[in-house]
């Protein structure tokens, strides 16, 4: 699918995603080795976006599984449609009656019904959740398992099983094996230590806040209408704000939002009043806001 690491980098760039050498290498390896990628890093540096772009450039559909506390197999893998099964048995009461009408004994009748198991435990009555649909899909897909750290450790163990063989066993149906090995991307915000097993299974990628030059490139690419001078001023200011000890330092997504709002306001350069009035785009906590406002002259210093 990819010819080389450079090819990955170029294709990401064409899809308007600046992938560093490190990122491209890991994506390339993941595809070549059929390994999931585990991406860690602060919120808003483009972890989820990476998976979306990957789906985009490989022309594969994206299947997303958002993790949360309490997520279990039923919601991630598959569930029987009990209500539908029940309804069908009700509707088919007569046919079932016919089937066992001439059975000589009770065990015989049970055996006949058991023989019809397949009718009620088939894919027709299975509602597929993201993991199963990723495995079952006829065309290769990109599977994004978002914020895996939010799910419980038990779920992780279960996921490990799925990710190591790309197969799932449904007791009534047997083992479902993946037709194509999906490209799997897991993201984590490090709210919890992930298990060693899962980490061992994955290629690990840590994405940090980008370096100034990289961030400038991202802003220029994503907000092309921004004046060059303003873009560099935005990057310089954001970098300085990150250096302040904030509860939640602004991420790339925030600096993009800020750049966009500055463009809408038709700004040509940053000044104290402008920054103060648009600061909420960048900093999300009241206390952080005060801190930045207090250090505004430092932030804007050339």
């Amino acid at each position: 699918m990819f010819d080389s690491v450079e090819d990955v980098q170029q294709r990401f760039k064409n899809a308007r995603y600046i992938a560093s050498r490190r990122i491209s290498t890991v994506v390339y390896l993941s595809e070549r080795m059929g390994r999931p990628v585990l991406i860690e890093g602060p919120a808003g540096v483009g972890k989820t976006e990476l998976a979306k772009t990957l789906a985009d450039i490989t022309n594969r559909p994206l299947i997303r599984l958002q993790c949360y506390e309490g997520l279990d197999e039923g919601k991630a893998l598959y569930e029987w449609k009990y209500a539908k099964q029940l309804l069908y048995t009700q509707l088919l009461k007569d046919r079932i009656g016919e089937l066992i009408a001439d059975a000589p004994s009770l065990p015989d009748a049970v055996a006949r019904i058991a023989g019809q198991d397949d009718a009620f435990f088939s894919f027709r009555f299975l509602s597929q959740r993201p993991l199963l649909s990723a495995i079952q899909s006829d065309q290769p897909v990109v599977l994004l398992i978002d914020e895996i750290d939010k799910a419980e450790p038990e779920f992780e163990a279960f996921l490990l099983e799925v990710l190591s063989d790309f197969q799932v066993s449904v007791p009534e149906l047997g083992t479902v094996k993946a037709k194509h090995v999906p490209l799997v991307v897991l993201t984590s915000n490090n709210a919890r230590e992930l298990s060693d097993g899962l980490k061992r299974r994955c290629l690990h990628l840590f994405i940090d806040f980008p370096a100034p030059a990289e961030e400038l490139e991202i802003i220029r690419l994503k907000v092309p209408e921004i004046p060059a001078k303003l873009a560099s001023a935005v990057v310089a200011a954001v970098q300085k704000i990150r250096a302040l000890e904030l509860r939640k330092p602004p991420s790339v997504s925030e600096s993009l939002d800020w750049a966009r709002s500055l463009v809408i306001l038709n700004a040509q350069a940053l000044d104290a009043a402008l920054v103060e009035s648009t600061l909420t785009m960048l900093v999300k906590y009241e206390k952080d806001l005060e801190r930045v406002k207090g250090a505004l002259d430092k932030v804007l210093a050339p």
Partner: protein, 469 residues
């Protein structure tokens, strides 16, 4: 190259990175996939397959740079050392070999015409059985460099150089040119020798790093808390953060496990309606578990300054993890610092608690007075859900211990846990009044080292809150 990578992995392991055999195999397979042409790519490949904790990346970077040197930079370094003459003389030498049938020893060939990377390989091969594993001090660098140099047959090289010079002379070059060429060849020899020395020095650094890294990790967790340097305190911060997370994980697990209980008839029947009255899904009543309520009281007098800096770090993390934590500090006067800890980041919060809290820092610590004040002002706000975490050495400077105050507090709360940064052998000796307070406490632990603190925290989680007292 595989061997080289495996050796590198061995070094990472010695620096306490956990790398499993399957990860090592991954690294080999992956590096075969991308090749070695681009250093950055190669590095990213190894990092992705071997390093699974972002905090280990820094260690990885350092060891990687010691291990896989930047050949391109090296080659350029040599070029610079040789000056602009390089290309022309090189040309001349190439012509001599190709056209005039000059025969040179392999080694001379390498030294005179080789690339940086080939020279590096030769040096590495030479160093293989030079006993480099005994290299430990900087003073040995010279000795080992010599030893590697001795592996090469210098007389052959000199003979070859003479041969080259004679051939050039026969070609009718003037003495000026000849001198320049001889100079060039000598420069190359010198560069080679310098590379040998660099190789040995890097090897030393690698070894020192291995040892050092292991030492810090081992010693840190056994080092008394009051003897930590600022740098070590910074490293400790990570450990405390991990401990705090452990507590949180354990609590969350417990809360989930408690989701079994009695049948919730109302919800079960409600849901059964969608299955025609058949209770397909059963719901259980969730028992609500109280959130732990925690009060920490920390001694910040001069005698335990460093220990309390560390304890306060724990307190700050606890406060961040749990919603219902109140923190107090005292010398003899006692003051609440909950608000400050909630407002300031950890460093500043601790500085504030150690310097600017409304207590008199210049008097001697007086546990008795602090407890009686606490009992007077806070007794009303205590209840059976509260656990008190005491952090102090119980050295009361011969003041009245007022143990009744602690008894009184104990009666109102779920329990008192006392962590003492002083060794158990010292309790009760001199002005230590630990034995007088101990009966009022549910748990008294010596907590001198980070290792002990880890044990205590595990204990707290497993026995204290789990037992649900």
């Amino acid at each position: 190259m595989d061997e080289r990578i495996l050796e590198f992995i061995g070094d990472l392991r010695r620096a306490e990175l956990r790398i499993s055999p399957s990860e090592a195999l991954d690294a080999l397979a992956a590096s075969a996939e991308v090749g070695l042409i681009d250093r950055e790519t190669f590095k990213a490949t190894l990092a992705a397959t071997l390093v699974k904790e972002s905090r280990d990346l820094e260690t990885f970077d350092r060891i990687f740079n010691l291990y896989f040197l930047d050949l391109q930079a090296l080659g350029e370094g040599i070029k610079k050392a040789l000056g602009p003459e390089d290309a022309r003389v090189q040309d001349l030498l190439d012509r001599l070999v190709d056209e005039d049938g000059l025969e040179l020893d392999d080694l001379t060939e390498l030294l005179m015409r080789g690339e940086g990377s080939e020279m590096e390989m030769a040096i590495r091969a030479g160093g293989q059985n030079a006993g480099l594993e005994r290299l430990m001090y900087f003073l040995q660098v010279g000795y080992f460099s010599r030893k590697i140099q001795d592996k090469f047959d210098w007389s052959t090289i000199e003979r070859d150089i003479e041969k080259i010079m004679r051939m050039l002379e026969a070609k009718g070059l003037d003495p000026g040119q000849l001198a320049r060429i001889r100079n060039y060849l000598e420069l190359r020899l010198e560069a080679f020798n310098r590379m040998i020395r660099q190789h040995v020095e890097r090897e030393l650094e690698r070894r020192a790093y291995r040892q050092g890294e292991k030492l810090t990790r081992e010693v840190l967790s056994d080092k008394p808390l009051f003897a930590l340097t600022p740098d070590e305190v910074a490293q400790m911060k990570n450990v405390v953060a991990r401990l705090a997370r452990k507590i949180k994980d354990a609590l969350a697990l417990r809360q989930r496990q408690e989701q079994r209980g009695r049948l919730d008839a109302r919800r079960t029947i409600r849901r059964s309606l969608s299955y025609g009255g058949v209770p397909m899904e059963v719901f259980l009543k969730r028992r609500h578990r109280e959130k732990p309520k925690l009060i920490t009281i920390c001694d910040v007098s001069d005698s335990v300054r460093n220990a309390s800096r560390f304890m306060l770090q724990l307190v700050w993390s606890l406060q961040e993890c749990f919603s219902r934590v109140r923190s107090f500090v005292f010398v003899s006067e006692i003051a609440e610092v909950t608000q400050a800890f909630a407002t300031y980041p950890v460093e500043r919060g601790i500085e504030w608690a150690l310097k600017a809290a409304p207590v008199d820092y210049h008097c001697r610590s007086d546990f008795g007075f602090a407890f009686s004040r606490f009992a007077n002002t806070e007794l009303e706000s205590l209840d059976r859900k509260t656990t008190i975490l005491m952090l102090g050495d119980a050295r009361n400077n011969y003041n009245d211990p007022q143990a009744w105050a602690l008894r009184l507090i104990r009666e109102r709360v779920k329990g008192i846990i006392w962590l003492n940064p002083e060794g158990q052998w010292g309790w009760g000796i001199g002005d230590s009044v630990m034995p007088m307070y101990a009966p009022s406490c549910d748990l008294v632990r010596e907590c001198r080292t980070i290792g002990q603190l880890g044990e205590v925290v595990d204990n707290l989680v497993h026995h204290w809150w789990r037992r649900g007292r």
